[in-house]
C-alpha cells in the first residue's frame, strides 16, 4: 500500500492524457456493457412476448403456407390442450400508400380470449368482439398511434385478399407494446364468400396447454397427428416461434458480440500506446529509481499498476455510464410504449463484474509490454542513452 501514492501521483502527472485515455476506455467499457445487454435483453424481450404454455402450429413448409382449417378441431381434441385459435393473415392497410403498418389477423372470436388469456382483455371487450361480427380487438400501441377509441369505425384494405372491410373497434388489447389487430374469422370468411371464394384454410393455429410440463408432449402429438398429410405441421413454443421470426436479430446479436471483441482489442492498442508513451517519457526517472535501489520487479509492478488503475477506474466510470443509460432507456420505455422493448436491456451485476474484469485486463495487457521493457532495461545503458 505504501506504493499506492507513488502509482496514483504518477498517474496524474499528465492529467489531460490520463483523462483522454480514461475517457476512451470508459466509453469502450460503456459500449461493451450496453452491447452485452443485447443477448439477455433480446431473451427478455422474447420472454415478454411469449408464455410457456402457448404453442404455435404452422405448416412445416413455413408460416406463409396455410393448412386446413379442420386441423383446429383436431388440435383442440389433443389431451392437455385447453383451447386453440386459428390465425390468418389479413394484411389490412389503413393507408394503401403506407402499406401494412401493424400486423392484423382473422381469428376465431369464441376462443381468442381463452388462448390469449394472459393478455387480460376485459370481459366486456371480448363480449363486444364476440357479439359484433365486424368487431376488432386492437393493440394499445396501434390504438394510440391512430387515436382510435372503442366504437370507432375503421376501414382496412387487404393487400392479400380482394377485400375492403369496415370494422367497429370493440376495444383494446391492453399491452403497451402490442401493435396487433384481430378481426373475426367469420366476418372475413363471409366477405370472401361474397367474392365467390370458399376459404377453408388457416395460416396457423395457436393453442394453450394446461401445464408447461405437458407442452413437449402436446407438440409432439400434434406433429405426429398430421405427419404424412398434405400439410404437415411444425409445432413450436411461442418463444421459439418468435426467436425464429426474429431470426435476423440473432445474427445481429452475433455481430454485436464480434464488434464488442474488436472494440476491446482497439482499446488495448490505444491504452498500450499511451502506456508506452508514458514509460518512454520517464526512462530517465526509471533509471534513477533503479540506481537508488528499486528492483525491476517493483518498477514493473508500479508501471503495470498505473495502467491497471487507470483502466479499472475508467471501467468503473464506463460501467456506471452504461448502467445510467440503460436505466434511462428503461424509464423512457415507461413513458413511451414504442420504446417498450428497451426496458428489457438491463446492465446486470454479472455484466458489471465482467466489464470491470475486462477493464482491469485491458490495463494489465496494455501495461505489460512497455513496462517490462523499461523495467528490465539496464541502468547503465539507459543513463548512457538518455543523459
Amino acid at each position: 500500500m505504501k506504493f499506492f501514492p507513488f502509482v496514483w501521483r504518477n498517474l496524474l502527472r499528465n492529467k489531460l492524457r490520463s483523462l483522454l485515455t480514461g475517457a476512451a476506455i470508459a466509453l469502450a467499457i460503456a459500449l461493451v456493457c450496453i452491447l452485452r445487454t443485447m443477448p439477455v435483453g433480446f431473451d427478455n424481450f422474447l420472454n415478454q412476448l411469449a408464455t410457456n404454455t402457448r404453442i404455435s402450429i404452422h405448416n412445416t413448409a413455413g408460416i406463409v403456407y396455410s393448412m386446413p382449417y379442420a386441423y383446429l378441431a383436431r388440435v383442440k381434441a389433443v389431451p392437455g390442450v385447453v383451447s386453440a385459435v386459428s390465425w390468418t393473415w389479413f394484411g389490412g392497410m389503413v393507408d394503401k400508400d403506407k402499406g401494412v403498418t401493424f400486423p392484423n389477423f382473422a381469428v376465431d372470436a369464441d376462443t381468442i380470449g381463452d388462448v390469449f388469456a394472459d393478455m387480460k382483455i376485459s370481459p366486456e371487450t371480448l363480449a363486444h368482439f364476440r357479439s359484433h361480427r365486424d368487431g376488432v380487438l386492437v393493440g394499445r400501441m396501434t390504438m394510440k398511434k391512430y387515436g382510435w377509441k372503442p366504437g370507432d369505425q375503421i376501414t382496412l384494405v387487404s393487400n392479400v385478399w380482394p377485400l375492403e372491410l369496415s370494422f367497429t373497434v370493440s376495444g383494446e388489447i391492453p399491452a403497451d407494446q402490442d401493435p396487433r389487430l384481430w378481426l373475426q374469422r367469420e366476418y372475413f370468411i363471409q366477405a370472401m364468400r361474397e367474392k365467390g371464394v370458399e376459404f377453408d384454410q388457416a395460416g396457423m393455429i395457436w393453442a394453450r396447454v394446461d401445464d408447461p410440463n405437458r407442452v413437449p408432449g402436446v407438440m409432439s402429438e400434434v406433429d405426429t397427428m398430421f405427419r404424412n398429410s398434405d400439410a404437415e405441421t411444425a409445432t413450436e413454443t411461442e418463444k421459439s416461434f418468435f426467436q425464429n421470426f426474429f431470426g435476423s436479430l440473432q445474427g445481429f446479436v452475433t455481430i454485436i458480440l464480434i464488434v464488442t471483441g474488436l472494440v476491446t482489442l482497439c482499446i488495448v492498442f490505444i491504452a498500450a500506446n499511451t502506456a508506452s508513451m508514458a514509460v518512454r517519457e520517464r526512462l530517465r526517472e526509471l533509471a534513477v529509481l533503479k540506481a537508488i535501489g528499486f528492483r525491476w520487479q517493483l518498477l514493473f509492478g508500479t508501471l503495470v499498476g498505473e495502467a491497471a488503475l487507470l483502466s479499472t477506474a475508467a471501467g468503473v466510470a464506463g460501467a456506471l455510464v452504461s448502467l445510467g443509460l440503460t436505466r434511462l432507456l428503461g424509464a423512457a420505455a415507461g413513458w413511451n410504449p414504442q420504446l417498450g422493448p428497451l426496458s428489457g436491456f438491463v446492465v446486470t451485476n454479472a455484466i458489471l463484474v465482467q466489464a470491470l474484469f475486462l477493464a482491469f485486463f485491458i490495463g494489465i495487457l496494455s501495461g505489460v509490454v512497455p513496462s517490462f521493457g523499461a523495467a528490465r532495461r539496464s541502468v547503465a545503458s539507459t543513463l548512457r542513452d538518455v543523459f
Binding site: N10, A291, F294, S378, V379, L383, F387
Partner: protein, 240 residues
C-alpha cells in the same frame, strides 16, 4: 573502501569492440572525496557506473564496502545500492509530481520504516542540505541549484557510506555549482561519507581530496585536490 582491480569494460558497437575502460586499478579509502576527470569519452562515467554497481565490468574485480560486486546477482546489487549508495545525477531527476520531501522519501520506501519515520528522516536530510523550509515545494517551484540539493538529500537520506555523482554540477551556474560542491564536501567532512564524482568542472579540484585522471579508458594517474588531507592510492592500469 572502494577497490577496483584490473577492471576493463568493452562494448560491442556494430562490428567493433569499443574499449571504454582498460585494466583500471584504484583504491578509494572510506571517507574520501574524489573526482574522476578527463575529456569526453575517457571512460569516467563508465568507471563510476562500475564502482557504483550500475554496470558490470567485462573483466576485473570490484569490491565496495567489503562486498565483491561481481558475485552479486542483479537483485542483490539493487539491494546493495539501496543500502550503501546514494546517487546524484546531472539532471536532478526529481519526480515532478512529488514535493521535495516526497522525492527525498523515495529511497526510504524500500525500507521497513513507518511513514512518520520516513517523513522525519526526509526532513532531516533536507535540513542538512539547507532546504528544510522548502520541503513542501514541488520541483518546478525550485531553482536548479535547489533541485540538485534535494537530489543530494535524496542520496543521503538512507545514510549510505558512499555518495556518487555523475556531473552533479553540469547543469548549474557557477554559484550553485560551488554550493553543491561545498555540500558534497560537507558530507565527507561532517558525516564521513565517501564521495565520488565524475566532473568536467575544474572548480571541483578545489573541493575534492584527490582527482583521478582518465583518458581513452586508461587511468593516467591521480593528483591531490584542494581539499586533500592525504593521498588516495591510484595504480595506473598499465603498471598494475
Amino acid at each position: 573502501m572502494i577497490e577496483l582491480r584490473n577492471v576493463s569494460r568493452f562494448y560491442r558497437r556494430g562490428a567493433d569492440d569499443v574499449h571504454a575502460l582498460e585494466n583500471v586499478s584504484l583504491e578509494i579509502p572510506a571517507g574520501r572525496f574524489v573526482a574522476l576527470m578527463g575529456p569526453s569519452g575517457s571512460g569516467k562515467s563508465t568507471l563510476l557506473n562500475i564502482l557504483a554497481g550500475l554496470d558490470r565490468p567485462s573483466d576485473g574485480q570490484v569490491t565496495v564496502a567489503g562486498r565483491k560486486l561481481n558475485d552479486l546477482s542483479e537483485d542483490e546489487i539493487a539491494g546493495f545500492r539501496a543500502a550503501h549508495m546514494g546517487f546524484v545525477f546531472q539532471f536532478f531527476n526529481l519526480i515532478p509530481v512529488f514535493s521535495a520531501r516526497e522525492n527525498v522519501e523515495l529511497p526510504l520506501l524500500l525500507t521497513h520504516l513507518k511513514k512518520a519515520e520516513r517523513r522525519e528522516r526526509a526532513e532531516t536530510a533536507l535540513r542538512i542540505v539547507g532546504l528544510a523550509e522548502r520541503a513542501g515545494h514541488m520541483p518546478a517551484q525550485m531553482s536548479g541549484g535547489e533541485q540538485q540539493r534535494v537530489a543530494i538529500a535524496r542520496a543521503i537520506v538512507t545514510d549510505p557510506e558512499i555518495v556518487v555523482g555523475d556531473e552533479p554540477t553540469g547543469d548549474l551556474d557557477a554559484k550553485n555549482a560551488e554550493e553543491v560542491l561545498g555540500l558534497l564536501r560537507t558530507l565527507k567532512q561532517e558525516f564521513g561519507k565517501t564521495v565520488v564524482i565524475v566532473t568536467h568542472d575544474p572548480r571541483a579540484e578545489r573541493f575534492v581530496d584527490e582527482v583521478f585522471l582518465l583518458d581513452k579508458g586508461v587511468l593516467q594517474g591521480s593528483k591531490p585536490g584542494g581539499g586533500a588531507g592525504g593521498l588516495a592510492h591510484a595504480a595506473v592500469g598499465a603498471r598494475a
